[in-house]
């Protein structure tokens, strides 16, 4: 079996094992309703993880995705609701902002971590300005979209599959996605073939902005309202999701399907912990423990590729 297959197989296996454990602890989860409850809040996380993956794909890291999703949620629960035209305009401006950040990082050769750290303050401040206290309301169509009950398979699963398939087609199958991944793999070669790495990086960031926007909107659809701190956690969650899903921090090695699975795994891990009924003192620590466990398994298996020094 080659590395690429391993990369995607491992997340699938860990998800399956975890799911089996959850079903064993809580047989009630093994139902239409149960699966939906287990996974529906993973949908926005999956979207945020795919957004983070776009950035990691070009060898950068985004520390602002959590505050950006919060910002989008605030806009969606207020402006999109009251003044749709302006609302969508603001959302589009957010995506453009992301692209601009990517361009700035490339042009000035800046460390992405710092710039996105700065942006996290900016998005957070904007969110607080738009929605100083929690509230707002989800647009009706969004709410009904997120609570739709398709036959046979619950919405959460349908949505996860949809996200995985669309991002897979975009990043892994399309000719456009190949160039973006090429930037992560060997920017010099992409540049030598006459592509503008600047444009490619800006495009990757814009895609991150787009998926971040979708994440914020679906989140509002699920929670029915927003607040300025609603998704801060998504930043670290999304990074962990990408890595769990078999992505690597450098080299353009990312897998959209893996990222979605990674996000589902993380969501499932915390459910698993609450079904375990640990002492409240150790509930927080257990989340760290399970993260370590899943990653350790991944790397133990990945050891096979020898003990060469990291370049």
């Amino acid at each position: 079996m080659n590395r690429d297959q391993l990369r995607i197989l491992l997340p699938v296996v860990s998800l399956a094992v975890l799911l089996a454990a959850v079903f064993w602890l809580q047989p009630r989860a093994m139902s239409y309703l149960g699966l939906n409850l287990l996974f529906n809040l993973a949908v926005p996380i999956a979207l945020a993880t795919v957004a983070q993956m776009m950035i990691i794909m070009v060898n950068d890291l985004d520390l602002s995705i959590g505050t950006f999703v919060s910002f989008v949620a605030c806009v969606t629960a207020t402006l999109v609701q009251t003044d749709p035209l302006l609302g969508y305009l603001v959302l589009a401006a957010g995506i453009a902002g992301y692209a601009a950040v990517g361009a700035l990082i490339h042009l000035r050769n800046l460390p992405a971590i710092v710039v996105t750290l700065g942006m996290s303050f900016v998005w957070g401040g904007l969110a607080v300005l738009i929605l100083p206290s929690p509230g707002g309301a989800s647009p009706e169509w969004l709410r009904s979209l997120m609570t739709v009950k398709p036959p046979l398979v619950p919405m959460a699963i349908v949505a996860s599959v949809l996200i995985a398939v669309v991002s897979h087609l975009l990043i892994r199958r399309s000719s456009f996605g190949v160039v973006l991944r090429g930037v992560g793999g060997n920017p010099a070669s992409v540049e030598r073939a006459g592509w503008s790495v600047l444009k490619a990086r800006a495009a990757a960031y814009a895609l991150a902005g787009l998926f971040g926007t979708l994440s914020g909107m679906t989140l509002v659809g699920l929670t029915t309202a927003a607040d300025a701190n609603i998704a801060l956690r998504y930043t670290l969650l999304s990074i962990a999701g990408v890595i769990l899903g078999g992505g690597e921090f450098t080299g353009g090695r990312v897998s959209p399907v893996g990222a979605v699975i990674g996000a589902l795994t993380l969501a499932l891990a915390s459910s698993f912990l609450s079904f375990m009924r640990l002492s409240p003192d150790w509930q927080i620590g257990a989340q760290g423990g399970i993260l370590i466990l899943v990653l350790a398994v991944r790397l133990l298996v990945g050891r096979g590729r020898g003990r060469r020094l990291a370049a």
């Binding site: 460390p111 700065g118 401040g125 607080v128 150790w282 423990g289 993260l291 790397l299």
Partner: protein
């Protein structure tokens, strides 16, 4: 190849600099920007203070001291190269403060024990972090994040969030000043001076810098990379332990949410201070400049009555502006 080639555009350095060129070299010092920014915000804040700038300056030194302590540790970690960041600093501060204050139980005779416990908990965290990174090959960011959850739980479990008062003598020390300079600032200056010596004069610092630029080359050149990286993560955690000990003593007891704001702060002061996040290029004075700046910018915006939202936006914009002005990494690998 549209970008100008760096080695080609780099003017060779000549002896016998004219004043103009030495000014130019000075302007290229990466830490300068942090101090300029701090000075400007200081002036802007002092302009609206009644009592002039002295009180503000002393306050800034006090609070910057805590950022400096954690910032120095974080700087050494970041210097190890891309991907190295310690996200467990806040949890370590909490754990160290909690354990130490509980052990002292307000008894001045036990202050040395308390300090030892704080530093030892830092040591323990450092060992845990590097074990995760090295033995399980977990990327540092995720390893230290996961560790921070475990540490947080340990802090909760050890004392359930009760605020134990520090011994009076310790509290007096932490809040007091010597010759007008806050004691904590003195501690931070001493630590910064030591860090400077380590970074600029010691073999250990040279090795950290080498690893940050090129881990592989460092290993091949005989640098004991594991020992150095281990020591770096441990010192970062020990410094966080010290900072937690002082902060708990300073603010009248350890709280479970004590170090939270130092998560982003420790990273921010490192990069605003002019260290390159790409590793191998660090400086200690910049951390002081950046720490002062990070405190003063909030004071300034508070003094001018900016709300939370505007304050955050301006903080973010200014961070980006400083980093963009100081320029990216000139030398590419």
């Amino acid at each position: 190849m549209t970008r100008p080639d760096s080695s080609a555009t780099h003017p060779p350095h000549r002896h016998g600099d004219t004043p103009v060129t030495s000014l130019l070299t000075f302007l290229r010092k990466p830490w300068l920007w942090a101090f300029i920014a701090a000075a400007v915000t200081f002036a802007a804040t002092a302009a609206v203070t009644q009592a002039g700038g002295f009180g503000l300056g002393m306050t800034a030194l006090t609070f910057a001291a805590f950022s400096v302590l954690v910032g120095i540790g974080q700087m050494f970690v970041i210097t190890l190269g891309p991907g190295n960041t310690d996200l467990s600093i806040p949890a370590t501060m909490t754990l160290a403060g909690t354990l130490a204050l509980k052990a002292m139980a307000g008894d001045p005779a036990l202050i040395p024990l308390g300090l030892a416990i704080a530093l030892a908990s830092g040591l323990g965290v450092g060992v845990l972090n590097y074990a995760l990174i090295r033995l399980l090959s977990i990327p540092p960011i995720i390893a230290t994040l996961s560790a921070s959850f475990l540490i947080q739980s340990a802090a909760i479990w050890s004392n359930r969030g009760l605020r134990v008062k520090p011994p009076q003598a310790l509290a007096d020390f932490a809040t007091g000043s010597a010759l007008g300079v806050p004691n904590v600032a003195v501690v931070a200056v001493v630590v910064a001076a030591l860090a400077w010596v380590v970074l600029e004069r010691a073999l250990a610092g040279r090795r950290v810098l080498a690893i940050g630029q090129n881990l592989r080359a460092a290993r091949l050149a005989g640098v004991p990379v594991d020992a150095v990286r281990f020591a770096t993560y441990v010192s970062c955690a020990v410094l966080a332990g010290l900072a937690g000990f002082l902060l708990a003593s300073f603010s009248g007891g350890a709280a479970l949410n004590m170090g939270q704001e130092y998560l982003l702060m420790s990273i921010a002061v490192v990069v605003i201070g002019g260290s390159s996040i790409a590793g191998g290029n660090s400086n200690v004075p910049g951390i002081w400049g950046a720490s002062l700046f990070m405190f003063l910018i909030v004071s300034m915006l508070n003094s001018y009555g900016a709300g939370a939202g505007v304050r955050m936006i301006l903080t973010g914009v200014i961070i980006i502006a400083i980093v963009a002005a100081a320029g990216g990494r000139k030398v590419s690998r």
